[in-house]
Amino acid sequence: MAPPRTRGQKEVRRHLLIYAGLTPFIVIAVFPIYWMLVTAFKQEPDLYRMDLFPLWFHLPPTLKNFQILFYQTNYGAWIVNTMSISAWVAAITLLTAVPAGYALARTRLPGAENIGIGIFVTYLVPAIILFLPLSRVVADLGLQDTWWALVVVYPTFTIPFCTWLMMGFFKTVPMEIEEAARVDGCGQLAALLRVVLPISLPGILTSVIFAFTLSMQDFLYGLAFVAPGDQKPVPVGVPTELIRGDVYYWGSLMGAALLVGLPVAVLYNFFLDRFIQGITGGIGK
């Protein structure tokens, strides 16, 4: 190839090189999702034709797999369960993590920094160590085999993460705003409720999103604590209830997985940088 002469040509060549390097990554990352998508809309016989090009349709696409999901399985109930669990977890997380984050960032408690790190480190205690003792706690509360068990358990990881997140967030709110409110005669609580919280809405919204997406990432607690078929959340119900022995309804399975997985993935995508900042301690720096 002749050496590129103009700047334009050089730019084009550079872009081509970068795209060529990125293509394998994009294919690896996206292919499993594409494969789910195609499978979800394929007719049953179309799935098992290895002699035909499998990445496209050879029989007309169908919605039958989704009909099966909603009419013959508990899928609808799982979606409702997931939404209810997430709403409760988000509420519990907000009511605890927002005040705690504020207290650690702003009220100059002795040792606030260490308490903050202490709470955050509990985020690193994995479910696999806690699930057996928690199964006893859940049983003692009489919550075994209902989705309420998960409402109690999921805050064990959303509270540490969101407290840490809010602590970093409140540190970025200028102290002067709050002091001005105090000078105007606001009490501590009034200054928090009327001045600090309204300007912290973006941080609070981020906490809600994480309470939701982190709950969706759980599998173990749901698997261990909730046995009845109509009480499970989606990520647990789909792999445990839609596979019966050796019979796999791949079309419905993939449809069920995608319908909930994709929106969560997209939502999480927008907040991924916040997540990374959160765990590397870089918030508000």
């Binding site: 990352a29 699930f131 990520p235 789909v238």
Partner: protein
Amino acid sequence: MVRRRVPEDLRQAQARMTHVSLHGGPDPAARAAVVSVPGRLATRAWWRSHSAQRLAFGYTLLAPAALYVVLLVGGPFIFSLYLALTDASVADPVATFVGLENFRAAVEAEVFWIALQNSIVFLVVAAIFKGLLGTTLAFLLLQNFRGKKIVRGLVVIPFTLPIAISVLSWKWMYDSQFSVINWALSGVGLIGSYGSPDWPIWLGQPYLALAACIAVNVWRTFPFSAIVLLAGYTSVPPDVLDAARVDGCTFFQRFRHVVAPMIFPILMIGFLFDTVFTLSDLSVVYLLTQGGPGNATKILPVLAYQIGIQAGALGRGAAIALFLVPLLLPAIFLVLRNLKRRE
């Protein structure tokens, strides 16, 4: 706005500020300096006088979160130590103390050592691959090019998709007969057609099954490695790099002496997080193989689940899960130290 109950010293501070700013010098910067000193001092004095009230307020706000964490993370952790020392089971709620019997039984079973070995192989091999892929991807994403946001959004999907859901796609791709991977390999002539001896049954052959599980973990977390690296790199201020360039540092020197020391702590934290999550994750292996064929993919979390919940032996399950602690503790300790240093 409420006007009552304003402390006297605060009123004075406010009056002083107004006074000074009205009669301050012509230079705004000098004026600001004059204002800030008495203002600050007065505020600090006021904080001190109200410190008891402030502390009570702070602890009240902190209490719900702290209690939740202490009761439902700290408590259960201690309880799991207790469980591990008893013969507690799902069937029999009355537990008797058995000392270290559960740990002894675990260590004497061959399957425990297989699980431990698989866990470590899983962790190390996966870390190598996601390190390589993540570094390459991060390097590419550092360049300026059109459509970067879209590309980034696409490549992080594996990490943002709930794991239990994406594993299902892999299970279908690893199907013994209709595997799309085998279709592709067969298409380019690397393997024969279905039924031929070199047709891989991904989840049915011991070494392949472990490799297949590791591949899913790598697929899920290489975007995470890349994004953490990127976050580290973008935290290096460009003027520091420019300064190094002006001083005549080569690319390698800049990397070695400027970039590396600055991004190392962030990388370290990302790596440690990943270690904790990879070691303790059960969903990939549980959903793909349940630890089989034989014990080829049995890792410690799967073993703990099978013994603790499926066989109902809470005490023995807790003991096996606790064997993860010595593996996790160094990682957790290092995260702690790193975070403290960054504060």
